[in-house]
Amino acid sequence: MSALTDLFSEARNSAANVAEVLMRGRGLRLGVTGLSRAGKTVFITALAQHLTTLANVAAEGRKNPLPVFRLAAENRLQAGRLAPQPDDHVARFAFEDHLGALTGPDRHWPQSTRQISELRLRLDFERRAGFRQGPSSFTIDIVDYPGEWLLDLPLLEKSYADWSRETFEASAAAARAPLAADWRGFSVSLDPAGRADEALARQAAELFTAYLRAARAEAYSLSTLPPGRFLMPGDLEGSPALTFAPLPLPEGHAIASGTLAAMMERRYEAYKSHVVKPFFRDHFARLDRQIVLVDALSALNSGPAAMRDLQHALDEVLAAFRVGRGNPLTRFFQPKIDKILIAATKADHLHHLSHDRLEAILRQATARAISRSEFSGAKVDVIALAAVRATREAAVRRGRETLDAIVGTPLAGERLDGEVFDGKTEAAIFPGQLPADPALAFRGDGLALPESEAEVRFLRFRPPVPNFGGDGKPLPAPHIRLDRAFQFLFGDRLS
């Protein structure tokens, strides 16, 4: 039965995909994901802003901001504009609001992604290579979704008992045990074979959610925390599909009907079929290219245990992708992701001399996933990126030592070196040095390290003061390697 439904949903997917490709013309679906606070919203805002203003660059006599992006370097883009999106049941990415937040009088980083959203960009450009040269157009559908949802995809393969056991084991690790103590204590008092009780189930779910939320908090910055909707419930808040928790099931326990365990199991299955599967079917299985944004800096701030957790989460995330090199026919019926870019965001928070080390650390964190993807024919690249650059670089000389520092306005409440910032003062920050050997970043048990023990401390900065063009519209902010990301993600289809 399950094989049949799978086949059926595959067929439906293919049909939907063919219909979409026929309607859309040349183009691709670009998935943008990352664990929360990785900078997805800022990335998409910058991408859309750059591509919609790129055609005016020459006319306004500005310098080309994207020299590595061949389409821009060769001056072949005629126009870029936002177009109505294809899926009517998905929220539109609120580009204008986010841009307003970044460039408004009280400039601040936009609200984070809470749900899936979509944005369609249409580019009119001159084709230079290929069968048909001359004017052409290309559609990029950007699909923005929380990375936490990706961590749910492995659940599809796991039974409730397996998931319970794994979650308990993970929560017993040194880094997590203190955070999980309340919930574990409560769970142990529950009897899986006891009568199903809604009040108990709700209390367990609440404590479990509190544990996940605490681990997510900035000081700890842990990453592997499925199920993802517990942290971002959206409109499912309070529904039975989100009111369950792992139970300490003994080995070989047979779940009898009417018990607490049976109720939990049913809800777990409901979560899978009502939350995870539709996401996989409607959005995830249709992507052509993918960028995974990673906020490695806050994990580095927290300590090696958080880095290892990030590594584990990225491994799971990247395992979820349906990668491989497709041919034009499979692209038509069943798209596969043939290029994945893993980007360490907020690269402007450290000096450019450290970017190579940051890339090396990220490469180390994703080494296994990269080799697996490359084996199946997909291309994977790792870069350090800043979609909006909030700092500039300078050297600070005191006495005989010179430090390579970055200068920007730290957010209100950020603290370092005995200073507490108010969000108005500029400061030169030396964030410390990343280890030359990337393996060192993963060695040790530190989590939520206090400043006195941490070797690095990355502050968050306010967005840069915006520049405005002749028409009063904000110009794209400076960036770091955004053009390289564009070239990698869709430059090859725009040649």
Partner: protein, 351 residues
């Protein structure tokens, strides 16, 4: 630097100082590394011109054209006619005597063999030129994107291109060693350019200077305009073939045609932007020389033209773009055409 004692994270406030207070540190603004990189990437129209010219000359695909169809069908007919004639010839030889017939067959076989060998050599030459042009493009791209893997692979190909040059043995060994180490893509390409290219560049420069000198001399003394026109054309053709050979190409007959087309395209594209490249000097030089004698003026003009052809040939034949090294200018290759100022400049350029 990594073994130095770990430096702790530090913050330095930059708010307004109250009067009389002073900071205990100095903030030095640094030139922005990313802007420098951007400028590096945008600032080279010459490189785009070269790639365009290479594409027009060497990388033309087998696009359909009526002219091509006409030529190929006429060629096919001619081949038939030739075959028919050969057949008749051999048959009539056999009719006279068997021995004569066999000699005729043998000669025909030798002729066909030589023809096939020539064709194969032409094809190889064209293939090799194409490879050099593709290598140029790939290296330019890898340099631009700072792509380590691509740079490693392409530097390997570049080294293989010069495997039979004893003068470059040291550079080849060094690069082979370096390819295994961790060097950034862009740096690797720069190192390769500094190691391999200076010898070739200076050889090419000498060729250009020699040709320009000969051409201006012949133009200044030749009795007829016709003679120096033919001489200029022959010298130009010889010069671009020599330059192609210096950089590892092997121009055959058809290859030379493609090469000439690429050089022509490059001249046409760069002609528009040559104002910086001493065009004023050219005109002034020509004008002054023409005041002294019309012949002398002609000589200077022909010499400059040849030198420009040579420079274009260098651009399209070089298997890597000019990045770490400066592209030669007219004043570098033909200082004698511009008097002392040019000489002084070229002396500065080559410390």
């Amino acid at each position: 630097m990594t073994d130095a004692p770990k430096m702790r994270p530090r913050a330095f406030r930059l708010d307004e100082l109250s009067p009389g207070a002073a900071r205990d540190f100095v903030l030095e603004e640094r030139p922005d590394a990313f802007e420098a990189e951007t400028a590096l990437l945008i600032g080279d129209p010459g490189e785009r011109a070269t790639e365009e010219a290479q594409a027009q000359g060497f990388l033309r695909g087998g696009a359909f054209s009526w002219g091509g169809l006409l030529l190929s069908s006429l060629g096919g007919l001619a081949a038939f006619a030739f075959g028919l004639w050969l057949d008749q010839l051999v048959e009539s030889l056999f009719a006279r005597s068997t021995a004569l017939g066999w000699i005729g067959v043998g000669l025909a076989a030798l002729a066909i063999l030589a023809f096939c060998a020539l064709i194969a050599r032409e094809a190889l030459a064209i293939f090799r030129q194409r490879k050099v042009a593709l290598l140029h493009k790939a290296l330019a791209l890898a340099h631009e994107a700072d792509d380590r893997d691509a740079a490693r692979a392409k530097i390997g190909e570049l080294v293989a291109l010069y495997h039979n040059r004893p003068a470059l043995a040291g550079a080849r060994a060094h690069l082979a060693e370096l390819r295994g180490e961790i060097v950034d893509g862009r740096d690797l390409i720069d190192i390769a350019e500094r190691q391999l290219m200076p010898a070739l560049d200076s050889a090419a420069r000498q060729e250009i200077a020699g040709a320009a000198k000969r051409v201006s001399l012949v133009a200044a003394i030749s009795p007829r305009a016709m003679i120096d026109m033919i001489f200029v054309a022959a010298q130009a053709l010889r010069l671009i073939r020599r330059i192609s050979q210096i950089y590892g190409g092997r121009p055959g007959l058809l290859g030379a045609w493609r090469l000439a087309r690429a050089v022509g395209a490059h001249l046409a594209i760069t002609g528009g932007m040559a104002l910086t490249d001493g065009l004023a000097q050219q005109i002034i030089g020509h004008g002054l020389a023409a005041k002294v004698s019309a012949r002398l003026g002609e000589g200077v003009l022909n010499g400059t033209l040849t030198a420009r052809i040579g420079l274009s040939a260098v651009s399209v034949c070089r298997p890597m773009p000019f990045a770490a090294l400066k592209a030669p200018t007219l004043a570098d290759v033909a200082p004698f055409l511009f008097g002392d100022k040019g000489k002084a400049e070229s002396a500065k350029a080559q410390p």
